[in-house]
């Protein structure tokens, strides 16, 4: 078996992996290898043929493939090395990787690793959807793949369960392709996708969105014939008497994304249950020295611009690590989500440098502030006209403000 060595290995060639590799090269790393299991770069962006990418970074809205192309061009201009059509099958805590492709099964020893494997969709099984198991039930992303990449139509009359962005975008896409989209049903009292997608994908096409309503049963033995929906109470349990039957031949699920961390778990990287991603410090290093994480595999992003930004940091710090500039510390300042905050990242910081916290709030609100505090001491504040769980909040914290803090709490007030 072939055994090779590289200074830095980037796993995943989506926007996170591309930006991380480019950044590592720009920061002086000569030996970077990017490994991507698909035959092309770009990750999930390839099937996102709608626009709305890059507004923050490039000041214009691009389609997913256009956004990816900017990075692919740069990746190639930097003459970075990649293995396409190659899957990383396992990684151990010593950063030894086993990879497989049509060209062979190989072992790679890496000086540092950047995890950028993206995420996958939650399925009907994962949410224990009751009923039969007929044809016609797809995750929204799989349907997006069939329609956008393979020109195959998944059905004629659809119900969409969950109001995640992919579901909203697919509601519009299905409609444009001549299908009837009956409704989008969201179990929570608010939509989980971006407000602009609600407007552009549902309202503009008269597709109703029913909040606090869920699909509670599937019907049909061979192909889906319909679903039963019901309103839910605060405990998210169906309210008896509100059930109704909605005929449809297709159900698209947009009920959440799960960071794809099987490799990380296999290497015993310490995980965070709130994000489904690794625990990281302010260099985006995980609990394993020399292993960094960024993009959707770290936490699910709503904007690709933030993915690229985060990945650039990971690339830079991985190079610093290879140069001996980063060592795990004995103690860190812990960062914890407080009132109104679902999660915050990184989970711990060194205090040696300025850092940006990424967080999601627990519920929508208006005219509130996000606070970063050391017990009662206020270290940073960001005023927000609108806070929404669908929109990630980023807040900068200066190192010189930290003093002797041991524990920071981030909350909404």
């Amino acid at each position: 078996m072939q055994n090779i060595k590289h200074d830095l290995v980037v796993i995943g060639g989506g926007p996170a992996g591309l930006a991380a590799a480019i950044s590592a090269r720009r920061n002086g790393c000569r030996d970077v290898l990017l490994i991507e299991r698909a035959k092309t770069y770009g990750g999930i962006l390839n099937q996102c043929i709608h626009d709305g990418f890059g507004l923050h970074r490039f000041g214009e809205t691009l389609t997913g493939p256009e956004y990816a192309q900017l990075y692919i061009d740069e990746f190639k201009a930097q003459r970075l090395e990649a293995m396409l059509g190659t899957i990383v099958l396992s990684m151990d805590s010593g950063r030894n990787l086993y990879v497989s492709s049509r060209n062979g099964f190989k072992k790679i020893e890496a000086g540092a690793v950047i995890l950028s494997m993206g995420c996958r969709e939650r399925t009907a099984g994962a949410i224990s959807l009751p009923g039969t198991r007929p044809a016609g039930i797809y995750t929204a992303g799989a349907a997006q793949n069939f329609i956008n990449l393979q020109n195959i139509m998944v059905g004629k009359q659809a119900v969409i369960m969950g109001s995640g962005d992919i579901g909203l975008i697919m509601a519009r896409r299905m409609t444009l392709e001549g299908a009837k989209v009956e409704s989008v049903f969201e179990i929570l009292p608010y939509a989980s996708g971006l407000p602009r997608n609600i407007q552009q994908c549902l309202n503009d096409y008269d597709i109703p969105l029913h909040l606090s309503t869920s699909v509670i049963n599937l019907h049909g033995k061979e192909r889906l014939t319909g679903v039963t929906v019901a309103e839910v109470n605060e405990g998210l349990m169906p309210v008896p008497g509100t059930e109704r039957y909605v005929p449809c031949d297709t159900l698209l699920l947009s009920v959440g994304l799960i960071p794809e961390n099987e490799l990380s778990r296999g290497a015993n990287v310490v995980m965070e249950s709130r994000t489904g991603g690794a625990q990281v410090d302010d260099t985006l290093m995980t609990s394993l020295p020399g292993v960094f994480s960024c993009g959707n595999v770290l936490h699910v992003h709503d904007l690709v611009d933030h993915v690229s930004e985060e990945a650039e940091l990971a690339g830079r710090f991985a190079v610093e690590y290879l140069d001996g500039g980063i060592q795990p510390r004995e103690s860190y300042i812990q960062i914890e989500p407080g009132e109104g905050v679902r999660y915050v990242l990184p989970q711990k910081v060194s205090g040696a440098r300025d850092f940006t916290l990424s967080l999601r709030v627990a519920a929508p609100s208006r005219n509130q502030s996000v606070w970063v505090k050391d017990s009662e001491k206020k270290l940073a504040r960001k005023k927000m006209l609108r806070l929404h769980p669908a929109e990630m909040v980023r807040i900068k914290v200066k190192a010189n403000k930290l003093g002797s803090a041991k524990r920071l709490c981030v909350s909404v007030k």
């Binding site: 078996m1 072939q2 299991r37 059509g85 899957i87 099958l89 086993y98 497989s100 492709s101 049509r102 060209n103 062979g104 099964f105 190989k106 072992k107 996958r120 969709e121 399925t123 009907a124 099984g125 994962a126 224990s128 009751p130 009923g131 039969t132 198991r133 007929p134 044809a135 016609g136 995750t139 992303g141 799989a142 793949n145 069939f146 329609i147 990449l149 393979q150 020109n151 195959i152 139509m153 998944v154 059905g155 004629k156 392709e177 001549g178 299908a179 509670i216 049963n217 599937l218 033995k221 061979e222 192909r223 031949d249 799960i258 099987e262 778990r265 249950s273 489904g276």
Partner: protein, 486 residues
């Protein structure tokens, strides 16, 4: 079409397939008629996959005799068929004095049935076998094992087919008549089959097949068992099976955890009578209950570990108000000479299947001459297990020889393109998506095909010329797609 043969078997579940394979040793022509597009779409793919030891059945019954015999036959059979099998043993656990009494009577019963190696264990001995197990005493049965039920059913059919048995998939039997010498069997497709020997192994529909001949003394009451499948992350948490000591009058063995040979854990089965013999729905009530019991039985379980639900139907002969068990009916009918009738083959039907095959063969031998075939091939080609289970060096060799092994299509289960191609080109010529799933394990992992189904669809298009309307989930009425994008 009119087809004449020596033996017609109705139903290609594990029982029909085991009989077909047993008979394929002899110079007889056999047609297996199956209403579904694949074998094992009924109870045989929807059960716990446990090779029972035989402790639970009354001495002298067919269930007792055939399960013990079937269990013992399974090892060689699996090695011939290249099927994974693990004798991981079972602890039947007592929580109180009543339970201990039950254990002793089970042990006695098991010994009367010739179950090998039974032992009553105290807490310390129980902990050695399964650390953390609760209960005060346990009956240990080392011959209890696990197996992939659809894997076995498919392998039996493939091996039977390799030895000349003809499988007619998608051929539901609708009518049977008997002329002076032969049974005449009609299918929904309008075809006719004739043979002097007819075997009814139609599982949940076996009563309906009886009715086609005018035999109305049997009735099947489907009793549903629901399961949840757990993520492979929990592989290794159970080294043996742990069941509660059975309660009197129950219709199943109680909800418990069962390891599968492929590294998942099943929670279930529940037990609830339903009206239709194909009502495989899962219900939210039972799923909630299974989750609750799962968390109790396996504290490290997290909410993201549930990857799928499914259910199977037990072919019960007693109505719900009676409950409990009846013995298997395996009979050669005097009123219809040549009609071999199998009814109520519920648990341990999987375990017993090879022994049922032998028993049915004896019965068939009274009607047709069973002359040994010169060239019976008992082994199925290929190797046991999946590519991803091989040692790294071996994988490297295989990829070097065939690059299709290097391309991983199903990332969750790490199933390679070669394995997918083999599944697509299966000997029974099933061409459904579920057929690929049951043969290759692709789409069976935590993402449930979200990732690999699009890639399998692409392979079928590019290498086998599939059009959008050609993709079926599992039956003619279950198209995956509605057409091309306009």
């Amino acid at each position: 079409m009119m087809k004449k043969c020596d033996v017609i078997i109705i139903g290609a579940g594990v029982v029909g397939n085991a009989i077909a394979r047993e008979l394929s040793r002899y110079e007889v022509s056999i047609a297996v008629l199956e209403k579904e597009l694949d074998v094992a779409m009924g109870a045989s793919s929807r059960n716990s996959g446990v090779l029972h030891s035989g402790i639970h059945y009354k001495p002298g019954t067919l269930r007792a005799r055939l399960s013990v015999q079937g269990n013992a036959m399974m090892k060689d059979l699996c090695s011939d068929l290249k099927i994974k099998i693990e004798y991981i043993g079972k602890l039947t656990v007592a929580q109180d004095e009543d339970g201990i009494e039950t254990l002793h009577s089970l042990k006695e019963q098991g010994e009367a049935n010739n179950v090998p190696g039974l032992e009553i264990l105290d807490q310390e001995q129980m902990q050695q076998i399964q650390p953390g197990v609760g209960g005060i005493k346990a009956l240990y049965s080392p011959s209890t094992g696990i197996i992939c039920p659809y894997g076995l059913s498919i392998a039996l059919a493939e091996n039977a087919a390799a030895n000349g048995v003809e499988f007619y998939l998608g051929h539901g039997v609708t009518n049977i008549s008997k002329n002076s010498r032969e049974f005449v069997v009609n299918t929904a497709q309008g075809e006719e089959f004739e043979a002097p020997v007819l075997i009814n192994s139609a599982g949940l529909f076996s009563d309906r097949v009886c009715e086609m001949l005018g035999i109305d003394e049997y009735r099947i009451y489907p009793c549903r068992g629901e399961y949840l499948v757990l993520d492979k992350r929990l592989k290794g948490t159970l080294s043996t099976l742990v069941y509660p000591a059975p309660r009197k009058g129950g219709a199943g063995l109680g909800i418990h955890l069962t390891n599968t040979v492929d590294g998942n854990i099943l929670i279930g089965p529940s037990s609830e009578y339903v009206d239709e013999p194909d009502d495989f729905a899962s219900t939210s009530e039972i799923m909630t209950q299974l989750k609750k019991e799962g968390h109790e039985l396996l504290p490290e379980l997290s909410t993201t570990d549930f990857i799928r639900s499914f259910s199977g139907l037990r072919a019960k002969q007693n109505p719900p108000e009676v409950g409990g068990y009846k013995d298997f009916i395996i009979e050669s009918r005097d009123d219809f000479p040549g009609f071999i009738n199998l009814v109520g083959i519920e648990s341990p039907g999987l375990t017993s299947a090879p022994a049922i095959g032998l028993m049915a063969k004896e019965m068939v031998g009274r009607f047709v001459d069973l002359k040994d075939k010169d060239r019976f091939v008992s082994e199925r080609p290929g190797s046991v297990g999946f590519f991803h289970e091989l040692p790294e060096e071996k994988k490297a060799d295989l990829v070097a020889k065939n690059p299709d092994y290097g391309e991983v299509i199903c990332r969750c289960e790490q199933i390679t393109k070669k394995e997918i191609l083999d599944a697509i080109q299966n000997p029974l010529r099933n061409s459904t998506i579920n057929g690929i799933k049951y043969r290759s394990r692709a789409m069976m992992g935590r993402c449930q095909g979200g990732f690999c189904l699009p890639r399998i669809v692409e392979i079928l298009k590019q290498e086998f010329g599939y059009k959008p309307e050609d993709y079926l989930l599992q039956s003619k009425g279950s198209p995956l797609f509605s057409g091309r994008v306009r």
